[in-house]
């Protein structure tokens, strides 16, 4: 019992650690509150713009291009709410810039204002996010998030988790799809094709029959032996 409880606690802890939820195409985030809100249902999503996850400019067919083109980190040099941002700038920003030479990073100090990330994407999207009182670790995750998403997807409701330009591989349905070729040459009215569909016994029924037979055989055996 003790073990089970501790493992549950461990699980909850790891669950709460996950602050950002990624979907295919680097789309949605779940970080308005640090912890997932359970048991709340709204129809807010109905008012969002509906879209499919798309790769801009066939990204990946020719070659992969990081869609984040520039990021501006705005912060205050002495306000407490920017502390995490300052830590991030001191410790992790150079690594980020080295690893992503295709992203232009601007750092903009401004007095007594909330720290903010502004990301700009190749498709013209501008993603603005307030980082008030964020820790360095949270900022690392957010930078990873804005680096991997293809555009601002915050105000977008994904209609499906996938998209294809070719919805049907076998072609559109026609009245003749999967039709038995025998029917083409049949003369109607036709007795064979016209009769009601005869269903074979299902697997369950077959099993039941076998079981019944077995039971009866056993009963007969018992009778004969006694």
């Amino acid at each position: 019992m003790n073990k089970i409880i501790t493992s549950v606690v461990e699980n909850i802890r790891t669950f709460t650690d996950v602050t950002t939820v990624f979907f295919i195409g680097g789309a949605l985030s779940h970080r308005d509150t640090a912890y997932p809100v359970i048991g709340m249902s709204t129809n807010k999503s109905l008012f969002l713009k509906a879209a499919f996850p798309r790769a801009p400019l066939n990204n990946g067919i020719g070659r992969y291009v990081c869609q984040l083109q520039r990021v501006t980190l705005k912060f205050c040099k002495n306000n407490g709410s920017s502390r995490g941002m300052r830590d991030f700038l001191e410790n992790d920003l150079l690594n980020f810039a080295n690893e992503n030479p295709g992203v232009v990073v601007y750092v903009k100090p401004r007095r007594h204002k909330t720290p903010v990330i502004v990301a700009e994407y190749l498709n013209g999207d501008r993603f603005w996010h307030s980082c008030r009182n964020y820790s360095r670790e949270e900022l690392l995750k957010w930078m990873e998030h804005i680096r991997t998403q293809a555009g601002d997807m915050t105000n977008v409701r994904l209609r499906k988790m996938w998209h294809t330009s070719f919805p049907s591989i076998q072609g559109p349905w026609t009245p003749w799809t999967f039709k038995n070729p025998e029917h083409i040459f049949a003369q109607y009215p036709n007795k064979e094709f016209g009769q009601a569909v005869q269903y074979k016994p299902t697997a369950t029924e077959e099993l039941k029959r076998l079981f019944k037979e077995q039971q009866e055989a056993k009963a007969v055996q018992n009778l004969t032996s006694s």
């Binding site: 030479p101 700009e120 013209g124 009245p175």
Partner: protein
């Protein structure tokens, strides 16, 4: 005792957890709608506002942007050539005017514009696209290749590609706003700059990855379909010494309804060529003939268009036959000559 012990242990771990809270809000915010209405009225009164221009912001470093542009596309542009390719003529004129306004009668600027590059790039891009498509679709007729070429080199497609590789903000143009034409021209200038920086084969890969790859999202039939398909099909069959196409109604449904469907297939000497549906028999015949042609030209499957070939425009010439000369024998001859 053991249960007590475990409880104590759990409580000691629980305080580290942060409880999941769910705070609802009570009451209606009755001020929201009126405020939004007033704001909307004011916005309408103000009229359309100018779009903020990114390169006039305080946080803007042109050199860093040029460096990142190169790295982002994993390209090897020479940075001077790249800047030249991004400099529009109107920008040079604007700069000269600025000097004149200050009082310099003969303004001297060491910036070059991209007029020459645009011309060179247009020719190069055109040749690259044609020879790439010729290599990809050797069975397609010349008309199809030219139609695809015209689609790819249309201003709209070029501008779309150009803005999506990130030229929009870094183009040097008077007034800082690049319209569709300038965006398209800049892409062509970039191809020229890349040819000068590395070579044509490398520029070919650039065109393939960014321009030709946009065909992956397109239905090729929407861009080009043979006109008079039945006549063309018969023409080709005649040249191949095969029996003429024989359209046969293979099925029909809903004939007495508002939406009848006929399915017609074309055969040559009982050999299946293609199939199509339509609301009248004539339409279905045309569709079936088109399908047969597309099958012959190997255009019926979008997977036939590859995006990993390399082209060298000095060697790979497009030798696709026009529809009037197209027959299997001629095509085989051309293909043998190529290999």
């Amino acid at each position: 005792m053991t249960t007590l012990h475990s409880c104590a242990k759990m409580i000691s771990q629980l305080h580290r957890l942060i409880p999941i809270t769910c705070s609802g809000q009570r009451g209606f915010k009755r001020w929201v709608a009126p405020v939004k209405k007033v704001m909307a009225v004011r916005q309408k009164k103000m009229g359309p506002q100018p779009v903020p221009i990114r390169n006039t912001f305080l946080e803007w470093n042109f050199d860093a942007e040029i460096f990142a542009f190169n790295k982002r596309l994993s390209e090897q542009f020479d940075s001077e050539l790249l800047v030249q390719a991004l400099t529009h003529r109107s920008y040079v004129i604007q700069e000269e005017q600025k000097q004149r306004d200050v009082g310099i009668t003969e303004p001297k600027l060491d910036i070059e514009d991209n007029r020459e590059m645009i011309e060179e790039g247009a020719e190069l891009t055109s040749r690259i696209v044609v020879s790439y498509l010729g290599k990809c679709l050797p069975l397609a007729p010349e008309e199809c290749i030219f139609a695809l070429h015209d689609h790819l080199l249309s201003q709209k497609t070029l501008a779309h590609v150009s803005s999506h590789i990130g030229t929009k903000d870094i183009i040097l143009v008077a007034g800082n706003i690049a319209d569709e034409g300038i965006l398209a021209d800049t892409f062509l200038a970039l191809v020229s700059a890349l040819t000068r920086s590395v070579d044509v084969i490398h520029a070919g890969a650039f065109v393939r990855d960014f321009l030709i790859a946009t065909l992956a999202e397109k239905d090729l039939i929407e861009i080009w379909t043979p006109s008079n398909p039945l006549e063309n099909l018969n023409e080709i069959l005649r040249k191949d010494n095969r029996q003429l196409a024989e359209p046969r109604l293979i099925s029909q449904t809903g004939i007495n309804s508002l939406i009848p469907v006929y399915r017609v297939a074309v055969y040559s000497n009982k050999e299946f060529l293609g199939v199509g549906c339509g609301e009248t028999i004539d339409v279905a015949k045309e569709v079936a003939a088109t399908d047969a042609l597309l099958r012959i030209f190997n255009l019926n499957n979008y997977q036939n268009l590859k995006y990993d070939l390399k082209v060298d425009i000095s060697k790979d010439n497009m030798e696709n036959l026009p529809l009037t000369k197209w027959c299997t024998e001629n095509v085989q001859k051309v293909l043998q000559l190529k290999t």
